[in-house]
Symmetry: C2
Subunit: 360 residues, 2 copies
């Protein structure tokens, strides 16, 4: 770890100029003669000198580092956001740091302390913790954070805290899925995975209720706050076991694809065929969803689009305190129609009628 100690002053001395000049050469400042520039660059190359971005950060009072707060990078939804956000930041010459905050965690003073300390240029915030309906002190803590850096969130509005925001319009997406099922002739639809824990789940449920109500469809809500395959399997079985045969739904919407995977398995063990005995619609469009048996109709939340747009806002300075919170950017989930929801023929008709639907 030798030449890491090489400073701009060493380069300046060697090139016979002042450190100011070297700095100007390196940051492509116009006011420097071509001759000097080339001489400086030669010395820089000769020693392989790399400017110290920490010192630069101190001087410029910006770190070119952006923080991303999310619960679980292993979840493909968050991974998609993170990936796209990182790419966007990279394009702007910045780098991203991940700050993990568990699903059920809360944004404490101590937590934001870590962010402030780092003097980040901004923070992108997403995950269940900003959706908890009983996070009373959340707006206060976030206000404090905002004194130090711009904030952009991905998700539903945080009551009492206005900021730049990108919003996946889940109510609309789910409503659209309900529309599809109605078109396919379903009159009684179940919703698996309802919970009051987080608002983005609440939004799906809300979209479901509204969609059903509007079309006069009987809505059956099945509560389950853990949304994994195992619980999906269990839920499917319990839901149907708990109903007399003549009250069974003919279609189920599942809160996410992971859980839908389990639902498919549960239905299979009950001897039901999807979609003939029961249509299934998921939510998330995970990469395995096109390869379930049968392939899963689902909502595409456009995680990468969300991440890209949010990061773009952050970099563009829209998250700045001094600017009034702009209207949220709405990202409409696309409905991805595969086989789990009904016949190919019907699909083809739908696609012809509404080109907005995506088929994959």
């Amino acid at each position: 770890m030798l030449d890491s100690r090489l400073t701009i002053i060493d380069i300046a001395r060697e090139a016979g100029v002042s450190s100011a000049t070297v700095s100007r050469v390196l940051s492509k400042h116009p006011n420097v003669s071509a001759l000097t520039a080339s001489r400086v660059r030669a010395v820089v190359d000769k020693y392989g000198y790399q400017p110290n971005s920490i010192a630069r950060g101190l001087q410029q009072r910006q770190s070119h580092v952006l923080g991303i707060i999310m619960p679980d990078i292993k979840h493909p939804y968050y991974a998609g956001i993170f990936s796209a956000a990182q790419r966007e930041a990279e394009g702007a010459g910045s780098v991203v740091q991940l700050y993990r905050l568990e699903y059920n965690g809360s944004v404490t003073e101590e937590f934001i302390r870590r962010l402030i300390e780092r003097r980040l240029d901004g923070t992108l915030l997403t995950g269940g913790f900003i959706e908890s309906p009983n996070a009373r002190e959340l707006p206060i803590v976030l206000d404090r954070l905002r004194q130090y850096m711009p904030i952009v969130t991905i998700g539903p509005e945080i009551p009492g805290f206005e900021c730049a925001r990108v919003w996946p319009d889940l109510p609309n997406g789910v409503r659209r899925a309900v529309d599809l099922l109605a078109e396919l002739g379903h009159k009684r639809i179940a919703f698996i995975g309802a919970t009051t824990d987080t608002r983005s789940v609440g939004e799906r449920e809300q979209g479901f209720r509204e969609g059903c109500e509007r079309l006069g469809i009987e809505a059956i809500l099945y509560n389950e706050s853990i949304h994994n395959p195992a619980k999906g399997e269990e839920s499917a079985v319990r839901l149907l076991d708990g109903l007399p045969r003549n009250r069974w739904p003919t279609a189920v919407m599942v809160i996410n694809d992971l859980m839908a995977l389990g639902v498919l398995k549960g239905l299979r063990t009950l001897g039901l065929t999807v979609p003939d005995d029961m249509a299934v619609v998921g939510c998330d469009n995970q990469f395995f969803s096109a390869f379930t048996d049968p392939p899963l109709t689902t909502l595409n939340l456009n995680a990468e689009e969300l991440g890209r747009l949010a990061m773009r806002q952050l970099i563009g300075g829209t998250g700045d305190l001094s600017v009034n919170a702009p209207e949220p950017i709405v990202v409409d989930p696309g409905l991805i129609i595969r086989e789990s929801c009904g016949t190919r023929r019907r699909m083809a008709q739908m696609l012809a009628a509404e080109p907005a639907l995506e088929a994959v």
Copy 2:
């Protein structure tokens, strides 16, 4: 963004002490009286002062930032590594930054420049780009990077570059899977997804060959360098189409679970039943793998374990240039036996015989 300008000197003035004392209070230096400490802390709290870690980093010549270089955070394997590494770093008071480097990218001067500039405390390196057999200049570039910071890699050895390393022992894992298939009576096994692109694939293939050879099993290699579900489906069909019925394998190993998902689908469309007509074994143990139809027998690469161990090395300073490269830490992939490889009865016997096998 007001009080972000508050410095340690302001606090010192307000508390009637010197900045040195404030610094000592904040970094819990012992030589400071309880009285002074409490007075300083009161002022700190009153103004909500947060030390500037950039200035600290400059002074201490360490950033408490660690870099992670990997191709694709959306891939669950890398997400697992990243997640565990982040957690480990967080525990040590550091933070991680993601530097993306595409699967087929190469570690250029320009790329490491970005890392050096940031004065990271260390780098964790993993992904296909360090496995490319024709990356001639890789050791040179990495040597340069190492002059600035410790490096730990996850994966096979990089020829010509010694460093701390965590290695998922794929040959052994695959060999073990072959053993299992042999035990189950298979005499002809295909391997789908062979390629010469990256060495970690090569390692799997090598393990497969060796395993088969040792047991006198006929090995059929099917080359395909793209490892996604669609290619899996196609590969399964082509493999079997290309062989006379009496030369068909009775089992296939697939390079990863994602591709195996497609293989399952391909076999289904061919009218074959898994595992009765054809046993299938994947590799990765992705979270959907327990919910395919039938559930997939697979190798668990222990991504999180890999990430944790690598980061621990990095933090522990084992990646330091001055230390000779230690023996690599070997992580043995666990064989996860589900239904896609054969009968439950046989499984139970296996499990009883070798407790090292994991069942999920």
